[in-house]
C-alpha cells in the first residue's frame, strides 16, 4: 500500500472533525443579536478604524520573515546531506562546510548591522 494513503485518511478525518465541530456549535448554540457583541474587542468607545487592510506593522516582522527564508533553505539543504552523511563522505563534508561558511557571512553581516536587535 502507498505509505502516503493513511495521511490522506487522517486528513479526511481531521477535516470532518473540524467542520463538524464548527457546524454543530453553529446549530446548537443560541443566537442573540447585539451590535456591541459583534464589534471588535477593544478598549474605548469606537474601535480603531480597520486593523484589516489599513493595519500597519513594525517592519521588523518583515525582516524576520526574509531572514527566515534564507536560513530555512539552509536547513533544508542540510537534511539530505545529514541523511547520506556516510555515503557522501569527505566530498559532502567539504561542500557542506563551504556552504555553511557562505551562509555565515550574511548572518554575521546582519548581526553586526543590527538586524536581530529588536529595539
Amino acid at each position: 500500500m502507498n505509505p502516503y494513503l493513511p495521511i490522506l485518511i487522517l486528513m479526511g478525518i481531521g477535516a470532518v472533525l473540524a467542520l463538524g465541530g464548527v457546524g454543530a456549535s453553529a446549530i446548537i448554540g443560541p443566537k442573540r443579536y447585539n451590535r456591541a457583541k459583534l464589534d471588535a474587542y477593544e478598549c474605548g468607545i469606537e474601535p480603531t478604524p480597520h486593523a484589516l487592510g489599513g493595519g500597519r506593522l513594525p517592519i521588523k516582522y518583515y525582516l524576520v520573515a526574509m531572514t527566515f527564508i534564507v536560513f530555512d533553505i539552509e536547513v533544508v539543504f542540510l537534511y539530505p546531506w545529514a541523511v547520506d552523511f556516510t555515503t557522501l563522505a569527505t566530498f559532502g563534508l567539504v561542500a557542506m562546510f563551504a556552504f555553511l561558511a557562505l551562509i555565515t557571512v550574511p548572518f554575521v553581516y546582519e548581526w553586526r548591522r543590527g538586524g536581530f536587535d529588536w529595539v
Binding site: I9, L10, G21, G29, E42, Y61, A65, V75, L100
Partner: protein, 431 residues
C-alpha cells in the same frame, strides 16, 4: 563521546507493505480519539499540577479528582453562541481554526507508538504506527508549519487590533524557533542516517540520542516551548498585553479548535522529542536486559506514553516556574543564541563524525587533533583585545523642577536635586 562511536549503524524501518486499508482507517480513528482524550486529560493534568505547585486544590468537583472538568468545559464551549464578528473576513475567519486543528492532528501519523504488535485473538500483526516513509520527520515539520497558517489567518481575518498583533508576533516567533528546531534535528539524522521515524527509534538501541547529542537536545527542548507558544514563551497570547492574542475574537467551537490545536501541538512536540531523542518506545533499561521481553509486543506503548507524559510534565513545570520573557529578549535569544549554537553543533558533530567514521583516524590521532582545535579556538580568547570602554556619560545636570512655575519630570541626562530628607536621621529608624 562514546555514543558517537556507536553511531551510523542504521536502524530497521517498520514494514507497511502488507497493510490493509481497513487497518489504516482504524488506526487513524484511534489516533484522533487518542489525541482528543489526551487533550482532555492534559488540560486537567496541567491545572492540577500547577495547582499543586501553587498550594491550591485545583479542579476537584466534577468526577473523581476533577477528571471530568475539562469534558464539562468542552461541552460548555459547544453550547455557547457562535459569534461572527462583523469586521471579520468571513471565509478566512471560519477557515483558520479548522486549518489549525486539522494540521495539528497530522503529526501523529508518523509517530511510532511501539514496534509490531499482534492484535489479540487473531494472527494479524501490524506496526503500532499509522504510516512511515523515508522523509517522515520532514513531513512532521511541514505539518507543523501548516498550523502556523491557522494562527496568521485567524489573527489577520478578525479585523481587530489585538488579534493582528498577536498573529504577527506569533508568526515571527514560530518561524524563528522553527529554524533552531530544524537545525537541532540535523544531528539526529547524521547519527541515525535516516529521516524515517521507526528507523530513528531502532537506531537508538544502544544509546538514546539525547546523551551523545546533548546540545542538540537542549536546543530542541527550548525551541519546542517557543514553537508551541507556551509559557515562558507565550508572547502571542500574553494576556496582559494582547488580551488573548490571535484568538481574541473567537468564541464557541472556533475558539475550542484553537485551544485544542495548542494542546495537541504540545503532545506533538513531546512525541517528536520522545521519538528522536528519548528512544521512542524503547524501555528505559540497557539493551538486552530481560532478553527482548520489554521491547516487544504491547509493553513498549506504555514506555512511549510514560516518556511523552514526562515531557508534558516538563511543559507544565516550566509554566509553573518561569516568568514570561520580554518580546525583544525572546527574539534576540532565538537568533543570537539558539541558532548559532545549533549551527556550531552541526559543524562540530559533522567534523567529529567524519574523523571517526569516514577518515577512521586512530583514537590517539583524533584526540590530539581535537585538543589542537580546542586550543586554536581558545588561544585567541586569551589575547582578545579588551572592549574599549565607552566614554563615561557626562554628569547629569541638576534640574530645577519648578523653574516654570509648575513641576516637570526630569528628561534623560537631567536629575532631580536630592530630597531634603535624604540621609537624615529619622526618629524611630534604627538603621
Amino acid at each position: 563521546m562514546n555514543g558517537v562511536v556507536l553511531a551510523a549503524e542504521g536502524g530497521v524501518a517498520a514494514d507497511f507493505s502488507a497493510e490493509p486499508v481497513l487497518a489504516s482507517v482504524v488506526k487513524a480513528v484511534l489516533i484522533v480519539v487518542f489525541l482528543l482524550t489526551s487533550v482532555l486529560f492534559a488540560i486537567w493534568f496541567e491545572r492540577k499540577v500547577v495547582a499543586k505547585m501553587q498550594l491550591r486544590p485545583g479542579p476537584n468537583w466534577h468526577g473523581p479528582k476533577g477528571l471530568l472538568q475539562s469534558l464539562a468545559d468542552a461541552m460548555k464551549l459547544l453550547l455557547k453562541e457562535d459569534v461572527n464578528v462583523t469586521r471579520a473576513d468571513r471565509v478566512v475567519y471560519l477557515l483558520a481554526p479548522m486549518i489549525s486543528v486539522s494540521a495539528s492532528l497530522l503529526v501523529f501519523a508518523v509517530i511510532p507508538f511501539g514496534p509490531s504488535v499482534r492484535i489479540p485473538f487473531t494472527d494479524f500483526s501490524t506496526p503500532a504506527q499509522l504510516t512511515d516513509f523515508p522523509v517522515a520527520v520532514l513531513y512532521i515539520l511541514a505539518a507543523a508549519s501548516i498550523g502556523v497558517y491557522g494562527i496568521v489567518l485567524g489573527g489577520w481575518s478578525s479585523g481587530s487590533t489585538y488579534p493582528l498583533l498577536g498573529a504577527v508576533r506569533s508568526t515571527a516567533q514560530v518561524i524563528s524557533y522553527e529554524l533552531a528546531m530544524g537545525l537541532s534535528l540535523v544531528s539526529v539524522f547524521i547519527m541515525a542516517g535516516s529521516m524515517s521515524t521507526s528507523q530513528i527509534v531502532s537506531s537508538q538501541a544502544q544509546v538514546w540520542w539525547f546523551i551523545p547529542l546533548a546540545p542538540a537536545f537542549v536546543v530542541y527542548v527550548i525551541s519546542m516551548v517557543g514553537e508551541t507558544n507556551r509559557l515562558p514563551f507565550d508572547l502571542p497570547e500574553a494576556e496582559g498585553e494582547l488580551v488573548s492574542g490571535y484568538m481574541t475574537e473567537y468564541s464557541s467551537m472556533k475558539f475550542a479548535w484553537f485551544f485544542l490545536a495548542e494542546y495537541i501541538n504540545m503532545l506533538n512536540v513531546s512525541a517528536v522529542v520522545t521519538t528522536l531523542f528519548l528512544g521512542g518506545w524503547r524501555a528505559p533499561v540497557p539493551d538486552g536486559f530481560l532478553g527482548d521481553a520489554l521491547n516487544t509486543g504491547w509493553l513498549p506503548i506504555i514506555w512511549f506514553l510514560v516518556k511523552v507524559w514526562a515531557v508534558m510534565f516538563f511543559f507544565v513545570w516550566v509554566r509553573g516556574t518561569l516568568l514570561r520573557l520580554r518580546y525583544d529578549q525572546f527574539m534576540v535569544f532565538g537568533w543570537k543564541v539558539l541558532i548559532p549554537v545549533a549551527l556550531g553543533w552541526v559543524v562540530v558533530l559533522g567534523a567529529v563524525q567524519w574523523a571517526l567514521t569516514i577518515a577512521e583516524l586512530p583514537r590517539s590521532t583524533f584526540f590530539y587533533l581535537a585538543a589542537g582545535v580546542v586550543v586554536l579556538v581558545l588561544l585567541p580568547m586569551l589575547f582578545w583585545p579588551e572592549k574599549k570602554r565607552r566614554a563615561e556619560p557626562a554628569e547629569p545636570e541638576t534640574l530645577d523642577a519648578f523653574a516654570d512655575g509648575y513641576p516637570v519630570p526630569p528628561l534623560p541626562g537631567q536629575k532631580l536635586p536630592a530630597s531634603e530628607r535624604f540621609g537624615k536621621e529619622v526618629a524611630g529608624n534604627d538603621r
